[in-house]
């Protein structure tokens, strides 16, 4: 059986230690947004040298940021956010000109402009971190290994919806062809397929995307579907996701990494889904689905990843379920019925009452529309405990989906639904049965 590559998105420097958690070597690769590289190149270079020496990383060029309403990439004063401004200046040409003034359009990218963008975009990924790696403190200890190139260079790409398919698809495919020509010997070129759910569910649109991208000589693809939450997604979205990934994968000839995926995608990447993806990424603190155009984050709340549900749920709901089931009657009962990962054993330390530590919060007064209200925020310790437990379980999920027989994996989904249905309700477990049906129908 082939192993599923476990990728993680780089979020903030505060989370850098988790790229070695639960163990060094857990993650096959790291995805880093280009605006983060622009904002803190020295820090990213040091992170890669110190935490990921010799490991794979890919820089997402984030070119789609410039096709949206400028307000979405601007600060409160209407100026383009500094990291994206720096990125636009590195890319030059049309993007540097229009960033913050108006959205980039396909017609802004004639053949010469697109070629120039591709070259600057690839050069940025190839060289920007290398310069900082060479100058870093770690360089003298790492010798020849000090400058590690990206695993693959990603061609400029844009977000494609049903209504903009014709225009942007042609640009994206052409950008990959230019990138192929501009790539140096031994450099892999990836395309980034960022599409709406409408594209995924329409067989004709999906076929057009697959044909255009696979005809573009890319070595592999980053795949991202706008806001596709596998827990709440319907059958058409899930089947469409697998079909799109499998089509891009071209019978295993190309790598396909789902940039935001949960357990459904992990299964799809393994035997259950016919190895439709080569790898799946998530963030250190979740990131299993994401909107292409970011929206506000809301108030943080403690969430516990329930392994049997493959879902991260509010602490209070987890507590209610576990209590009703009697799984908090003893630490042993909890570890055998809910989770026996090292982090859960450390937190409980033999006392089921210590499960409260996953939901611990500090109240702070916050000004709201109707006055000042008291809101509870998770403590740092609670956040860390939830996060470490989540990463422990993710590692196990990738390992299981890589090695366990398809029948066993699908049977476990049904067993999870049966186990939780009386406390989570039918809606709370329906995703597990739907996932099994989607894979069984393939």
């Amino acid at each position: 059986m082939s192993s599923i590559e476990h990728w993680m998105q780089f979020g903030t420097f505060a989370q850098k230690d988790f790229f070695e958690y639960p163990a060094v070597g857990t993650y096959d690769g790291v995805l880093i947004n280009a605006n983060m590289v622009a904002y803190a190149p020295g820090g990213i270079a040091a992170f890669l040298q110190e935490k990921r020496a010799g490991g794979k990383y890919i820089i997402d060029p984030l070119t789609h940021a410039f096709q949206h309403d400028p307000a979405l990439i601007s600060d409160g004063e209407g100026k383009v956010k500094s990291s994206l401004r720096q990125l636009a200046d590195h890319y030059g040409g049309s993007i540097a000109e229009i960033a913050g003034k108006r959205p980039l359009r396909p017609k802004d990218l004639n053949d010469a402009a697109l070629d120039a963008l591709v070259k600057s975009c690839l050069a940025y990924q190839r060289e920007h971190l290398r310069e900082h790696m060479t100058e870093s403190n770690a360089a003298k200890y790492l010798g020849d290994g000090a400058t590690q190139p990206p695993y693959a260079l990603v061609a400029p790409y844009f977000y494609i919806t049903e209504s903009t398919l014709t225009e942007w698809l042609a640009v994206c495919a052409e950008a990959i062809r230019h990138a192929r020509s501009a790539a140096q010997d031994g450099e892999k070129v990836f395309g980034s397929v960022v599409v709406s759910q409408g594209i995924v569910t329409d067989p004709d649109d999906r076929a057009r995307v697959i044909e255009a991208f696979t005809g573009s000589e890319a070595d592999g693809f980053l795949l991202s579907v706008d806001n596709l939450d596998e827990i709440s997604a319907g059958k058409m979205e899930l089947k469409g996701l697998v079909a799109l990934a499998a089509g891009l994968r071209s019978g295993g000839q190309r790598e396909v990494i789902n940039v935001h995926g949960g357990y459904f995608s992990i299964l799809a990447a393994g035997s259950a889904g016919g190895n439709a993806m080569s790898g799946v990424a998530h963030g250190p603190e979740f990131g299993e689905f994401r909107s292409v155009v970011p929206v506000g984050g809301g108030i943080p709340i403690a969430r516990y990843y329930v392994p049997g549900l493959h879902a991260r749920i509010r602490y209070r709901d987890a507590l209610r379920m576990f209590n009703q089931k009697g799984w908090l009657s003893s630490a042993d009962e909890f570890h055998s019925s809910v989770c026996g990962c090292p982090e859960c054993r450390r937190v409980l330390d033999g006392d089921p009452g210590r499960f409260t530590l996953f939901g611990e919060g500090n109240a702070k007064s916050v000004r709201r529309r109707h006055g000042i209200v008291r809101i509870e925020f998770p403590t740092r310790d609670a956040t860390l405990a939830c996060l470490k437990h989540y990463l422990e379980r993710k590692k196990k999920e990738y390992e299981a989906a890589s090695s366990a027989p398809r029948e066993k994996l699908l049977k476990e989904l049904g067993e999870g639904a049966d186990k939780f249905e009386d406390v989570a309700g039918l809606d709370g477990v329906a995703h597990l049965r739907l996932w099994a049906r989607v894979f069984e129908s393939q």
Partner: protein
């Protein structure tokens, strides 16, 4: 028991419901705190008398949402109540609070009279470790009327 308020104290928003119920409970010998955080949400009122802790969710009319919010309090509260702006609750609402064991406090829309429509029953689902966490948090929050 009912508490009579002045006619000009019309109940126009949720805060008015909270104020009326706070006064009502204080008059009944409870010590009341408002906006009490509990597992990522905030209870509108928490009233204590002796060792008993009562959680109250106040609403103008969306009692189904209040019922949902009350569920999280079952791990920590001895008694759980809804406080609603209403003169006479519907049969559906009364049945829902009876089924869940919650109490129902009504605040009349015009004069703001407050009365029990249905008393709560003792909640047996309290989880002691979570209750201890709540007790620690309560000590940090001042009573509204001392």
């Amino acid at each position: 028991m009912t508490t009579k308020r002045r006619p000009e104290d019309e109940i126009g928003c949720e805060n008015d419901v909270v104020r009326a119920v706070t006064q009502f409970l204080s008059d009944s010998g409870y010590r009341v705190r408002v906006e009490v955080p509990n597992m990522g949400q905030s209870a509108d009122l928490v009233a204590t008398r002796g060792r008993w802790v009562t959680f109250i969710e106040a609403k103008m009319k969306d009692w189904r949402r209040a019922l949902d919010q009350c569920r999280a309090h079952e791990h920590v509260a001895d008694y759980i109540c809804l406080a609603l702006r209403c003169d006479s609750p519907s049969d559906t609402l009364l049945q829902a609070v009876r089924d869940s064991g919650y109490g129902l406090i009504g605040v009349s829309p015009g004069a703001g009279d407050v009365r029990w429509h249905h008393p709560p029953v003792l909640n047996r689902r309290v989880w002691p470790p979570q209750r201890r966490t709540l007790s620690g948090n309560l000590r940090e929050i001042r009573h509204v009327v001392d």
